[in-house]
Amino acid sequence: MIWKIALRNIFKNARRSVTTALAIGIGGLAALLFGGFVTSIWYGVQTSMIQEQGNLQVYRNGYLEFGAANPDAYTIKDWDKVAALLAADPMLAENIAVITPRIDLAGVAGNAETGNSKTFIGTGIVPAEIDAMRGWDGWNIGQVAPVTGLAAGGQESVIVGLGMARLMGMCEALSVPNCQDAPVDASTLVVEEQDFTSLVGTEAGLADQGNGTEKPQLNVMAATSAGVPNIARVGIESAQAQAVRAIDNSFIMMHFEQARGLLYGDSQEATALMLQVADPAQVDAVKARVDAVMTEAGLDLSVYHFTEVDPTFDRIFGMFTFMFIVVSIVLSIVIVFTIVNTISMTIVERVKEIGTIRALGFRKGFVRALFLTESTMIGLIGALIALGSAILLSNVINAAGLQWTPPSNATPLTVQLMVLDNPTFAIGVVGTLVALSFLASVWPTFKAARLNIVESLQRA
């Protein structure tokens, strides 16, 4: 009967009910769409990063703290044996899709043609394995990164950042769009050219070896682990934009073997091992297992989740979560005021009915239940409007194929508002709307139940 009375009063005051439910619905719609966007960031940005770095990374103990100052002291020695050790574990073999080494290096790069030179930050990777990692789509969100483009080229091919190409005066040679080669300043070049010439000279015949292609050539110089400068001539496969400008200006991606030869000669050293776990749900278990295997083998290595190594994801996600919270609070306040207003109006109109109900022997709780049911039902209707319209609108937006570039990416991701992909969230929003409707009317309904019976009955 309470339900009947509540529902019929909702229909009786159709316009007011619809207005209130719409306010709740639009607030909920905004929360669901924004939440759907945050969810897509959660999946999309993590997928991007996992495609690039793997879910887990193994480093020498202390590397994350001190390695930057002295990378050579914190390399993984015999990385190939470590990789083999991990691959030999049945549990890991089953769950890890890719194990691949990486070398981080820095040095000076020079344009063999013009003599332009500048510092670079480089990474040495196994292109085929990185390409395999870039195909990872563990959450089935249909997001695949383009391949490196290095796998086909020879050992000596590299990829540089767009900014790097520009600064090295290779715009034209690499047909970089919207790029003009920097004007050459002869006075500074002379010195560096001399530097390089002398160095190249020490490496017997390196400059003449070339690499047999017409690719623009680059001389890269880095210090070996022994502290001796070493140099290699590489050919630029292509220039690719990097996410961060400072890195884009100095980025070189090269073959792992190239980097290893440059820094460590014959020694099997690497900065890190990147592990890609096929099923993201297994990451924690795999991490624990990797840790156990390495500890058992007495290795001075640690395994980290990629977010521990690179805070980018946590920051992006944290920022959007914070924005979501602020927006939700504002929406909640609006919704609460709307509900308080509506239910108070309903109560004022029905004071006499309240007096009658109390006179008939119903306790205060019944009066409260009556109006709480009504507001909760309005809330439920609003929540269903929110959910329905969010599903509808998110499909429209997703179909539109809008793109955005998260701070972590060089290439844009397609906006996919994931409203239903995170059921806990969707149910949470619906539940919150209903709960808000209930809670917002607690105070008005308590006041209604406390009305003096005689005075209520005297109302016209």
């Binding site: 009947k4 005689v454 009955l457």
Partner: protein, 249 residues
């Protein structure tokens, strides 16, 4: 209470002598009842020590000029309000010290109300309105429904059970209100100006309807009115003037 009562029957005994007064068993007795309303800083003494009693299974009319305190007395008798002072017993139970919840439960068990402006719940059908007080009882859904229908038929509205209050006349609404007041088979039926919104002919029918149920339901009917023409011969009368009993017959 009222065992084995068939509500259908009171339709047919209207011809019986309504003036037959049963032995004066007392349903309600009150002594020195007073009520003072406080409005801001002004105190309005609405009742100034009223004493009297309401007979069981009889009709008592409360009369008096406007503003004399009739409604105030009825509100006290119906446990809708608390006296400022005085004693009151209903069915031998001291009801002046009941808590709010106890008073509500007591009303649900023992007291029925008929209001001047009917006070039906507009969104409920006639049947649902009559059924409504039974939500306070532990009854099955089906027996609630059946009982509500019986009482609607008893007040002659068996053909309108699915209508809403807005779709019937004032007199019919008051009949529904009477059915609603009686459906829980109360000891005490309190009606404050139940006919003030009705024409003379309908008023008489309504009073007659309430008057004739008292025996079958063993209900004490208390009707407040200033239309003395409505008073059924043989009924008890409490006349209130200026917050005091001016006569009891």
């Amino acid at each position: 209470m009222n065992q084995a009562y068939n509500p259908q029957s009171f339709q047919y005994d209207i011809a019986q002598n309504p003036g037959a007064r049963p032995a004066r068993d007392v349903a309600v007795s009150f002594k020195g009842l007073s009520k003072t309303y406080k409005m801001d800083r002004v105190e309005v003494p609405a009742l100034k020590g009223v004493s009297g009693s309401i007979a069981k299974a009889a009709t008592t009319f409360i009369t008096g000029p406007s503003g004399s305190g009739k409604s105030t007395l009825l509100n006290l008798l119906g446990l809708l309000d608390r006296p400022t002072d005085g004693e009151m017993e209903i069915l031998g139970e001291d009801v002046t010290k009941l808590t709010d919840k106890q008073a509500a439960d007591f009303r649900a068990q023992h007291i029925g109300f008929v209001f001047q402006s009917f006070n039906l719940i507009p969104v409920l059908s006639l049947r649902e309105n009559v059924e409504f007080p039974l939500l306070n009882r532990k009854m099955s859904w089906a027996s609630r429904k059946t009982r509500a229908l019986e009482y609607l038929e008893a007040v002659g509205l068996g053909d309108f059970v699915d209508r809403r209050p807005g779709e019937i006349s004032g007199g019919q609404r008051q009949r529904v209100a009477i059915a609603r007041a009686l459906v829980s088979e109360p000891t005490l039926l309190i009606a404050d100006e139940p006919t003030a919104n009705l024409d003379t002919k309908t008023s008489r029918e309504i009073v007659a309807l309430m008057d004739r149920i008292k025996v079958e339901l063993n209900t004490s009917v208390v009707i407040c009115t200033h239309d003395t023409d409505l008073i059924t011969p043989g009924s008890a009368i409490i006349n209130i003037v200026d917050g005091q009993t001016a006569g009891e017959y």
